[in-house]
């Protein structure tokens, strides 16, 4: 079990929004214990006739949640995250994209000082099939198994999860770190959790160009990880200096290139797939 299991009680901040309500429905279908929704001014009503809606996280604490999904517009994310942190929730998942990076920087720092895990901003969340899901990964792509996947991407994660599932394997935990420049978890953080997790036998890292998250992870794997690790890196063909879609994929200051990441993984004995669909093959080798 990594971070969440079937006993994890989740609240949704922004449950009445377009995204919030859709994904709350999907989480409930997956089996996630969504114990309350927060929507200021709408307290007293219910979501889907069963999940109580309250005005604040503080009110929601009566349902003893330990995690939150934040799906509020970017300008309000810092306030919502601080509300979750101040109330002592242990997992804070931020769905929202376009959060100012300095807000993310403060949220991540304040959370880490209190032993709180931040997922995102701008990531797909976490799924432990079929214990619990916090986030927006499609329900139907999972199968229970021994492959742990950590990714900096959203849809690309689904692509790889689905490929693993269709190849007859299954997943122990899938974590989306978030696509922004500043997010709560690094590959090293999740490698530590995966290495300890009894259910996980094999690990997939889905990286991107930009930053040095992959290089640091490769170094860590060499020294500390005994389980099999394979990887995929998106953006290998990107021309230097062209930003691909979100800020996480900048090639900055000459580090963070696909070449440097491929080299680091090669040195750590981590095979890197050419296509997302090749991941299952590498896992079975």
């Amino acid at each position: 079990m990594v971070l969440i299991d079937k006993n994890t009680k989740v609240i949704v901040q922004g449950i009445t929004g377009h995204q919030g309500s859709f994904h709350t429905g999907e989480m409930l279908k997956f089996g996630t214990k969504v114990v309350a929704g927060v929507a200021p001014g709408k307290g007293g009503t219910k979501f889907a006739d069963k999940v109580p809606i309250v005005n604040s996280v503080s009110e929601a604490m009566q349902y003893e949640p330990n995690a939150t999904m934040i799906s509020v517009p970017a300008p309000f994310v810092k306030d919502a995250a601080y509300e979750a942190i101040d109330n002592g929730l242990k997992i804070v998942y931020i769905l929202t994209e376009h959060v100012p990076y300095q807000d993310a920087m403060e949220i991540v720092r304040e959370a880490s000082l209190r032993g709180i895990t931040v997922l995102g901003p701008n990531g797909p969340g976490i799924t432990v099939p079929f214990e619990s899901k916090i986030g927006i990964m499609p329900n139907h792509i999972f199968k229970e198994g021994d492959v742990a996947i950590a990714s900096r991407s959203g849809t690309l994660t689904y692509e790889i999860v689905y490929a693993v599932t269709k190849a007859g394997m299954g997943e122990s935990t899938v974590i989306g770190l978030g696509g922004d420049r500043v997010v709560g978890l690094t590959f090293i953080d999740v490698l530590k959790m995966f290495e300890k997790d009894e259910k996980t036998k094999r690990i997939v890292l889905v990286g991107e160009i930009g930053g040095n998250n992959e290089e640091l992870a490769a170094d860590y794997i060499k020294k500390h990880v005994k389980k099999k690790v394979v990887a995929y890196i998106a953006g290998r063909s990107a021309p230097p200096g062209k930003r691909m879609g979100h800020a996480g994929a900048i090639i900055e200051r000459g580090v963070g290139t696909a070449e440097s990441k491929l080299k680091a993984f090669a040195e750590a004995g981590v095979k890197v797939a050419d296509y997302p669909q090749d991941i299952p093959k590498l896992l079975e080798e």
Partner: protein, 376 residues
């Protein structure tokens, strides 16, 4: 050239004169000066001045973008010769006229995001006025600032000891650093940089240049700036104004996908199959027919020979995308081949819609990649 020479979309690079306006507001000393966009706005000269083209690329001095003037005539000539000229392909529309400084020494200082530390980093050097990349590492002071503690004087004292500043300069430097950190935080900057930070002959520290790069995601709490990224093409600027993550490339296959990672993976796969993508276009995490239609509009403007759509449905549902494709094909009367891959949420419904409208759709990515590379 600065430490950060690659900044793209989502980031706003301010002109020197704008940066200096902000500095002034926060109490950071800058030279007296004013900005003009025509020679008529030039005021009578009182001191020798520097006349600086306002463009967003480094290496301005070397490229002839900075001139000096000691007389009114020289000033007018300088302004005339710079306005409207191209410096490294960029047309100069504004010049900054500033009192010349008597330079005793040039320092370097900046505060920028350190991604791996998820914190700001202070960078300083006694070797300023040159490209910071050319300064040897052991002459550069680097220190992470804990975002929870913020900037505190002890950090400045460490820098100042490293740089060997005199007590008087150190005092000015500490005062300046506090204000520079206020700019960094108060303006949601990605980077604030002073290079050179000039020590004048009479012992004053003055910011002779100002580079301020803002996080565009934080624009909702700041004034608006009317700045176009000089490294973007007209089509990229148009896409940006419509809210798409879009990059022009030099191939012939238009690409529409969802999610930055999957879109990159699509381009990577195309190239490994000898296909040449014409663009990067990420639909983002929305579920709206019009967004798909408008994406086709942009991609068609780049005149590709074929279009590949690669969707893994999650937030974005496959039937919505399918409907968008059908609408776009009708609306723009598209004749070039469209190859679609739909997988994930509502993929059956999506493929059904396409089938009814005579468009074939794959459920796997690799066959779609293979097909599009052979379709023309």
């Amino acid at each position: 050239m600065t430490l950060c020479n690659h900044w793209y979309g989502g980031i706003l690079n301010l002109y020197e004169y704008m940066g200096k306006d902000i500095f002034r507001q926060y109490g950071i000393p800058v030279p007296n000066g004013y900005v003009v966009s025509s020679v008529d706005e030039v005021r009578k000269l009182t001191n020798p001045v520097a006349v600086k083209s306002q463009i967003l690329l480094g290496g301005r001095g070397k490229a002839g973008g900075i001139k000096f003037a000691k007389t009114d005539q020289e000033l007018k000539d300088a302004v005339k010769s710079l306005l409207g000229t191209k410096v490294r392909n960029l047309t100069v529309t504004k010049v900054l006229i500033e009192d010349m400084l008597s330079i005793k020494h040039e320092y370097y200082v900046s505060i920028a995001l350190n991604r791996s530390a998820r914190s700001p980093t202070l960078i300083a050097s006694a070797m300023g006025g040159v490209e910071i990349e050319t300064v040897p590492d052991e002459k550069i002071f680097k220190r992470i600032i804990d975002p929870s503690l913020g900037y505190s004087d002890f950090i400045g004292r460490e820098a100042s000891t490293f740089m060997g500043l005199s007590p008087d300069l150190s005092k000015q430097f500490l005062d300046l650093l506090k204000k520079l950190y206020n700019v960094y935080r108060g303006e949601d900057a990605e980077l604030v940089e002073i290079n050179p930070l000039v020590e004048t002959n009479d012992g004053k520290l003055i910011a002779a240049d100002a580079k301020v790069v803002i996080d565009s995601d934080a624009m909702f709490r700041h004034r608006e700036f009317d700045i176009k990224d000089p490294e973007k093409t007209p089509l990229e600027l148009k896409a940006e104004s419509k809210g798409y993550a879009f990059v022009e490339l030099d191939g012939d296959i238009g690409v529409i996908a969802n999610g930055a990672g999957l879109t990159m993976a699509t381009l990577d796969a195309l190239l490994l199959h000898k296909g040449r993508p014409r663009n990067f276009l990420d639909l983002g995490g929305t579920d709206n027919v019009d967004i798909v239609v408008n994406a086709f509009d942009l991609v068609l403007e780049a005149k590709p020979k074929a279009i590949l759509v690669n969707i893994f449905g999650g937030v974005t549902k496959c039937d919505t995308v399918a409907q968008g494709i059908v609408d776009a094909k009708k609306k723009f009367d598209i004749k070039i081949p469209i190859v679609v891959r739909l997988s994930g949420v509502h993929e059956e419904e999506g493929r059904q819609i396409l089938k009814e409208n005579g468009i074939e759709a794959f459920s796997e990515m690799m066959p779609a990649i293979e097909r599009v590379t052979k379709v023309f």
